[in-house]
């Protein structure tokens, strides 16, 4: 008769025990897997948000340069330039929460666009090499920013799917994970720009 590793049990009980152990092991592996994948998805969201932050900072860093280049030409737009400098100072002053950062990003985009529209009135400035280089850099940062937002939204969608779909939603509930917000474009920016209004202003 084979020696049972679990002392004091009859043969069929030993068999049953092994089945239970096997089932328990499988359940554990699945639970670990789900747990790890949820943590991985949460971290992917945070990583993606950090990369938006990094590019936003890169954009803020361009501002002193832009203001210096533009100032000598645009005597009449002092107000716009001062407001964008102030926004930058506010953004650089401390860590912003993700909601604040979103709001700030919207204001900043508007101010920047205001400057670019105003530049149209200064052909000399538009033609200056300094400004053209700056405009290329700004275009690039905007493109990178849009890429970072898309990466963030992809990571959030992945995370939200895991939080809401069966069976990962059970684990997510235990871990206290909630749906996250996508990085949305503010309502004012979503409207199709009215070219006529631009000229009336």
């Amino acid at each position: 008769m084979p020696v049972s590793p679990i002392v004091g049990l009859r043969q069929e009980d030993v068999g049953m025990t092994w089945v239970l152990v096997a089932v328990g092991a499988v359940v554990l592996v699945v639970v670990f897997g789900v747990y790890n994948s949820l943590v991985g998805k949460k971290n992917a969201v945070e990583y993606a948000f950090a990369s938006i932050d990094a590019i936003l900072k890169k954009r803020f860093d361009l501002i002193p340069n832009l203001v210096a280049t533009v100032k000598q030409y645009m005597q009449h737009e002092r107000g716009t330039l001062e407001s964008i400098t102030a926004l930058r100072a506010k953004a650089m002053s401390g860590r912003l929460s993700s909601d604040e950062a979103t709001a700030m990003d919207g204001q900043f985009s508007r101010a920047l666009r205001g400057i670019m529209v105003a530049v149209e009135a200064y052909p000399e400035l538009k033609a200056s090499e300094n400004f053209q280089q700056l405009q290329r850099t700004l275009n690039e940062v905007e493109e990178q920013l849009s890429a970072a937002r898309r990466a963030f939204n992809a990571a959030v969608t992945d995370f939200n799917n895991a939080v809401e779909m069966f069976p990962t939603n059970l684990m997510a509930g235990l871990m206290g994970y909630r749906r996250r917000q996508l990085f949305e474009i503010p309502e004012t920016e979503r409207q199709t720009p009215n070219v006529g209004n631009l000229f009336n202003a």
Binding site: R136, E140, S146, A147, R150, A154
Partner: protein, 323 residues
């Protein structure tokens, strides 16, 4: 782009004068080939008959057929060798120059193997690498080069009788195109035809996520693009920086226009496209006349298909820091 009338005028001036002597050569080759094939055919039939008379030979007719076919193939290569080169220099070169005067054409040149491998599109080790019809040049602000390529690997198996058999398998055959990309980037992003997701849906995507041979899976937001392609990249943000929503559309439209499989890679600030054309481009034909405008416009369309990529993918738009 130049009109059909311009092309016809260009053909009259640059191509027709050289095409007529080539056509005469082609007829001569066909004559010699016919005579040679008849002789070889007769000889191999005789050989077959002689072998059949001897009992120990296995399959006499088969042996004779194989020998005959090999001899005829050798004859074709021998007769057409110089002719193909001369045809390419005389006909393809002016057609390439017509598309854009900055383009250079080298019939025997090809994209080197290291550049093909640098794209990272095909992971299989290469045992045989051939190519021809290299075109290089600069269209407006974008430097381009492309050639036909055929990359293969081999497998050797030994059957029960101890005979070794070597088989060649194609890794890629078609047009390989490299251009300077209009944005700076440092990582690697590849766009491959998607089979798994089309047939398996979300499960397919989960499997792609576990592909160890590739970098991270990049899930993009355009559902039609996602159905046709799968994207892997070293950096999620950079992959999206390169594959803007408009570039995804353009790649999709290009693929639909071409109706062939397309692989795209973005490495070292360059874009690599592997287009599986499924036919040998820029070759003269032997058994039909060369004096055919349709044949010549086909060559023109093949060149334009490649140079048109610059336009199709908007590579001349240089609004970012890369000039």
């Amino acid at each position: 782009m130049q009109s059909d009338a311009d092309f016809r005028a260009h053909l009259q001036a640059a191509v027709l004068p050289v095409l007529e002597p080539l056509e005469a050569r082609r007829k001569g080759i066909v004559r010699k080939l016919t005579a040679g094939s008849l002789a070889i055919g007769g000889a191999s039939l005789g050989l077959g008959g002689w072998l059949a008379g001897r009992a120990e030979a296995g399959a006499p007719l088969l042996v004779a057929l194989v020998v005959g076919a090999l001899l005829i193939a050798g004859l074709v290569a021998l007769l057409t060798h110089g002719f193909v080169q001369d045809f390419k220099n005389a006909v393809i070169a002016p057609i390439v120059a017509f598309v854009d005067p900055t383009l250079q054409y080298a019939p025997r040149g090809c994209i080197p193997q290291w550049e093909f491998q640098r794209s990272g599109l095909f992971k299989q080790g290469i045992d045989r690498y051939r190519g021809e019809d290299l075109v290089t040049g600069t269209l407006d602000k974008t430097a381009i080069r492309f050639s036909e390529l055929h990359a293969e690997y081999k497998t050797t198996s030994t059957d029960s009788k101890g005979r070794r058999r070597t088989q060649w398998h194609t890794i890629f055959r078609g047009l390989f195109f490299i251009a300077d990309f209009n944005k700076h980037f440092s990582g690697q992003t590849v766009v491959l035809p998607d089979a798994a997701q089309r047939f398996l849906g979300r499960l397919g995507q989960a499997l792609q996520n576990m592909n160890m041979a590739r970098d991270q899976l990049v899930k993009l937001e355009d559902p039609e693009f996602e159905k046709e392609f799968v994207v892997y990249g070293t950096d999620q943000v950079e992959a999206r920086y390169i594959l803007s929503t408009s570039l995804m559309r353009r790649i999709l439209e290009f693929k639909r226009k071409m109706r062939v499989s397309i692989h795209v890679a973005f490495v070292d600030s360059s874009i690599f496209l592997a287009i599986g054309t499924g036919r040998n481009l820029f070759e003269p034909r032997l058994f039909r006349t060369l004096l055919d405008e349709k044949l010549l416009s086909e060559f023109l369309n093949d060149v334009r298909m490649a140079t048109g990529i610059v336009e199709d993918l908007n590579l001349n738009t240089r609004v970012w820091t890369k000039e």
